[in-house]
């Protein structure tokens, strides 16, 4: 299971943001996306996840193999930590193993309603979803937001050992060094040129 992208152009809100993007990520590898705000990191991840269509180009990976993690964690405040995770496990047809709670340091919180968790704790719960659903391709959008240093290290260790170490791959947009031995891709180089920002209407008219 590898992820290959060739000549990809993508748009946000109808305006092209990236063009001519090509890269490949092999199993066990991670790719770190860099770029200033608005460079198109989130848009790229959404396109890779199949949520939005690319303008042109090719993505070689079945969308069914990918798991997307956005800024928002999709946590239900009135369900407990375990209930939240069990829902994702059921939705993906997986069994819910309690070892995920240890991986993300959630064991002490497991019966707490998710609404009473702190920002960092809910982020850990959101990331634990990735451990539950077991997808080989992870598309992570700023996974370390509101995590403390220890939690970042814990998450990086999980990513290295439990995911990449077992043949998974990941594309990560982050500003925080995760300590992963991973190539970086600067999206600034692929910024769409102004001429292509006219949109399809201009050509049509």
């Amino acid at each position: 299971m590898s992820l290959r992208v060739e000549g990809l152009s993508i748009a946000r809100g109808g305006v092209p943001v990236l063009e001519g993007l090509s890269f490949a990520v092999e199993p066990g590898q991670a790719l770190i996306l860099r770029g200033p705000n608005g460079a198109g990191k989130t848009t790229l991840l959404r396109v890779l996840a199949g949520l939005a269509p690319p303008l042109s180009g090719r993505i070689d990976a079945t969308p069914e193999s990918a798991a997307y993690a956005s800024h928002a964690d999709g946590i239900k405040a009135t369900l407990s930590v375990t209930e939240n995770l069990r829902f994702w496990a059921d939705l993906y047809g997986r069994s819910f193993g309690a070892e995920v709670l240890d991986d993300f340091d959630l064991r002490a919180l497991r019966d707490r309603p998710a609404g009473t968790l702190s920002a960092g704790q809910s982020r850990r719960l959101g990331l634990a979803r990735l451990g539950v659903i077991g997808r080989p391709v992870l598309l992570l959008d700023e996974p370390t937001v509101s995590l403390d240093a220890a939690s970042v290290a814990r998450f990086a260790a999980w990513l290295r050992e439990r995911h990449l170490g077992q043949g998974g791959l990941a594309v990560i947009a982050t500003h925080v060094p995760l300590g992963l031995d991973a190539p970086e891709l600067d999206l600034g180089r692929f910024r769409a040129s102004p001429r292509s920002t006219q949109g399809s209407d201009a050509a049509f008219l």
Partner: protein, 218 residues
């Protein structure tokens, strides 16, 4: 699909889930109508089935805007959309959950509330039958409307405006079947039309809702 259904049912009965809101609204309308119309029991008996149908329809509308809006706000919707469950199945699960928490309780509550409207003896069975047949259509059509307006701020008003015209056929045939049944006339035709609307919307609208969700998530 059952996972999503279970979660939505569980969420709706937890604190702040909104279960009971529709039922309370239904109760209030039906209790208030006799005060407004006056004490003539004949008039009440005649307009009773229609009042109960309109009240049930409006009560269904109340909880519609939460269908996808809550999942959209906390970011769960894109995560569910990237799961193995197709969005058509997501829409169907949401509609079923909505019916189980709104349509079904309304149907069951209609019979005891009919007493307040001085319904005739034969009317109770017809009322419950038509509501049981018609409320699934209300939930499915409403889910389609909710899918159309997901992501819009204050989309509730637009949702009501979009959905109400689509509700009219269900209301006409539902209330007509209940009225005819109560007056001892043959209600087969409106009943079949009502069942047809429900079956048709159950078969088609989840696909429409799935397509609309896919566009709205872009």
């Amino acid at each position: 699909m059952t996972a999503l259904l279970h979660r939505d049912l569980r969420l709706s009965i937890r604190a702040g889930g909104g279960f009971g809101l529709s039922l309370a609204f239904f109760l209030i309308v039906v209790v208030l109508v006799p005060f407004a119309v006056g004490p003539e029991s004949e008039i009440l008996a005649r307009i009773g089935p229609g009042i109960l149908w309109v009240a049930a329809l409006l009560a269904t509308l109340l909880s519609l805007d939460r269908q996808f809006a809550l999942d959209h706000e906390d970011g769960a919707l894109p995560l569910i959309a990237t799961s193995p469950l197709p969005l058509e199945a997501v829409a169907l699960a949401k509609a079923v959950a909505h019916w189980l928490t709104t349509g079904l309780p309304l149907t069951l509550a209609a019979a005891p509330l009919g007493v307040l409207l001085n319904l005739e003896g034969t009317a109770y069975g017809w009322l419950v039958l038509t509501l049981a047949l018609g409320t699934p259509a209300l939930s499915v059509i409403g889910t389609f409307g909710a899918a159309l307006t997901v992501g819009l701020r204050r989309g509730g008003l637009l949702l009501s405006l979009l959905v109400l015209p689509l509700y009219v056929p269900t209301l006409i045939f539902g209330a007509e079947a209940a009225r005819r049944g109560a007056e001892g006339m043959d209600a087969t035709t409106p009943l079949l039309m009502l069942a047809g609307i429900t079956a048709g919307s159950l078969a088609l609208l989840p696909f429409a809702a799935g397509a609309v969700l896919r566009i709205n998530l872009r």
